[in-house]
């Protein structure tokens, strides 16, 4: 395995962060659970897209494994947490829609396939990011499954391309580029959020002393004022409609 920058991070930085900030570890594992569940759901969509019952059955098996990974990560995160986990995926990417063509579907499936090989390397490294035996066991088990998935998804991809391996490889390269781009956008978004938070904190302390009285006044509105406000709101909505 080549050591990519993300691998370097997981190998040397993650163990430190997880040790210093246990909540970060819980959040990371919870996120893995959500990602696994999301891939299960996306694969379910693929079942609806293909008509070949053999491929459908293979995909079904794959869905079950991804749900199982989600369960494993969820129970691991919960074993560290004294709060309920926040397992909601805030913005889901709906890959398969009613306008999806067979070509789009193949691109998506190739994307799933490259994802499998990416995560199996990551999970192997995460297995060593903590001394906890249960964590190690679960990450290694999932990594092992993902390695097997890589073989399975490769076979299905070639099947879906009607045996055209050249086409399958092209799709694979295309989706690897897409994955890199996606990682780049996520990183940028995170950096953007940090900058945004900083500006908002400045704004908060700048305007806070001037507006907090007004905010408190609004909480002192009596019922009549509130009722009037709602009546106006309804009248306005009615006007617009």
């Amino acid at each position: 395995m080549k050591l990519k920058p993300t691998h370097f991070f997981i190998k040397f930085i993650t163990p430190l962060i997880w040790k210093l900030f246990p909540q970060r570890k819980i959040n990371a594992i919870t996120r893995f659970s959500m990602i696994e569940k999301d891939s299960a759901v996306q694969l379910l969509e693929c079942i609806r897209f293909t008509k070949d019952p053999k491929i459908q059955a293979d995909l079904f098996q794959h869905v079950l494994e991804e749900f199982n990974h989600a369960d494993l990560f969820e129970s691991l995160a919960m074993s560290y947490s004294d709060k309920h986990l926040n397992l909601s995926i805030p913005s889901r990417e709906n890959v398969i829609t009613d306008t999806t063509t067979m070509e789009d579907f193949l691109k998506f499936y190739a994307y799933v396939h490259t994802g499998e090989s990416d995560v199996n390397e990551d999970f192997e490294l995460y297995a060593h990011a903590s001394d906890d035996q249960l964590l190690r066991k679960i990450f290694l088990r999932v990594a092992m499954d993902e390695t097997r998935h890589t073989v399975g998804t490769d076979k299905i991809l070639v099947d879906l391309c009607d045996g055209n391996t050249r086409k399958a490889r092209q799709l694979e390269i295309y989706s690897k580029i897409r994955r890199q781009y996606k990682m780049y956008t996520i990183a940028m978004k995170n950096i953007g959020q940090v900058v945004f938070n900083f500006y908002m904190a400045v704004l908060y302390f700048l305007i806070g002393p001037f507006v907090f009285q007004t905010a408190r006044k609004q909480f002192r509105w009596n019922k009549r004022e509130h009722l009037q406000f709602m009546q106006d709101q309804i009248a306005e909505a009615k006007n617009k409609i």
Binding site: Q56, A57, V211, T214, K223, I241
Partner: protein, 605 residues
Amino acid sequence: MNILGISSNYHDSSAAIIVDGKVVASSAEERFTLQKHDPSFPEKSISFCLAKAGIKKHEIDLVVYHEDPHVKLSRTLSSAFKNFPKSLFTFIKSATEASTSTFWLKYEIAKHLGIDSKKIKFVPHHLSHSAHAFLTSGFDEAAVVTIDAVGEWTASCIFHGKKTASGFEIEPVELFPFPNSLGLVYSAFTAYLGFKVNDGECSTMALAAFGKPLYVDQMRKIIQVINEDVQIDLSYFDFTTDDKLPFNEKFFSVFKTARGVKEKYTFDCMNDDCLTVSESEQYYADIACSLQQVLEESILVIMKKAKRMTGSENLCYAGGVALNCVANSRILEENIFKKVYIPADPGDGGGAMGAALAGMLMHDCKKGEQISPYLGQKYEVESYLELIKNLDPSEWYRFSKINTKKLRKDQIEVTSYSTQEEFLNAVADLIANNQVVGFLNGRFENGPRALGNRSILCRADNIELAQHMSKMIKQRAGFRPYACAMTEDYADLCLETRYDGNLNKLMQASFKVKPDYVKHLRAGLHIDHTTRAQVVSESDNETFFNLLKKIGQKTGHEVLINTSFNEQGFPIVASPVEAMIMFSRTNLRYVAMGNVIVSKREKDV
């Protein structure tokens, strides 16, 4: 005219469509994404609604969103600045939401739908709820009450709904502003009792039956009723952080520390003799009971006020709190109104339908008829049969959270029946012979209750079987009761009192069972021998009614346990594939759908 309603961005996102005054389709997004209470934009529900209505996106005349996000933003920002300088994180959260969602929502929706943003309108959240309740009730006139966590600046509201010469009209007559919210306090206590907010409220309600109202005085200091008004004493709360429970030292000087999320409750609603639990566990049950009692008192105050202000004999009721079926029973018992109506999905899952109906109300509302709760998608089971026959169950045992058996491929059987009569007979035979059957029929229901189209069914007199179902199929805590579905004739025999209205059709209230019938329904009863009954008539759901009749022929009792077809942590299944996922991950041995029964032959292993 085609009106699309949308609810999203909080929990239970949904979509609904009205074509020429008729609600044609409606669904919560979770049914398609398998994420319980999915808050994301309801893209899949919208696709389903449009397909069902047979219209293209550009044919939508009006899109109505279930709340006004700008007014909501004014509340979240005011809440943040009110607590200045302790509220930096809440401010950043609101600012992030504003910059990523609120400001662009109209354009986002327009982009998703590929339509002009001028077609998109916002309506007040409580108007959505009230339009949903009133315009689907079939009443010409009613008091309309909405009790919720919060919608914009409003926690609860009383409207007067009327038929006029030009159509219908819903006027707000009284309002209980945020933060005086019964819903928020109930959710806060749900978290205190160790359950998950916006999900575990039903557990809080179930737990209450095991407690005594020992802390009502303390509770009445938090939820205060003063001259027909409900007020919350905020000095017990701290809403400045999301990280911990929303209570402060004053709260904890009155109440003990919160129940840990991993501590399980050992109460068993099916065991009349087993009421001894640890002192600590009993304490939290007493808290739940006291909370439930004070909630009911407060709701009754609001209902009586609604009656006084509107003079109406009919009540339409919606909002998240309307899911509290024990409190709903109190409304019936108090006989405040002659008829009470609660829609199938009174919470935010029904928000989209409410929004669409509010749009219709404001545009040109001529109709106000009762609607069916079965407005979800229907699936052709035949198109899944080849997949099912190709499934290999040999690895399934590895993927289950509970102990399931290792199976061979030949141990999955698919049996097709040529007529529905034969099919229902076979299903009834299985159930009568003490089997648990997953039952998938027609269009799926709206709302959190399975009403016979996405249900798991079994005999109501077999406690052991129901306990097995809780443990090995549903993974459900023993203190949470199941519900009973029964025919109208049987309801007349076994329920203590029968009320007018739809509450007993949609499992919206719990009813006391006559002592003579307790043993026949015991597995579907709570510890107080009440049941969240679904009384089924032929016109409500013909297939399910016929099944109940057949059960009656075989067991002498036209009654079944009817619980939702889902695994713990998952929404109710929509399609046969999701049904098969639950089938493969749990000890559910039979799935009956579209004249086909899929079964596991486990005995020969």
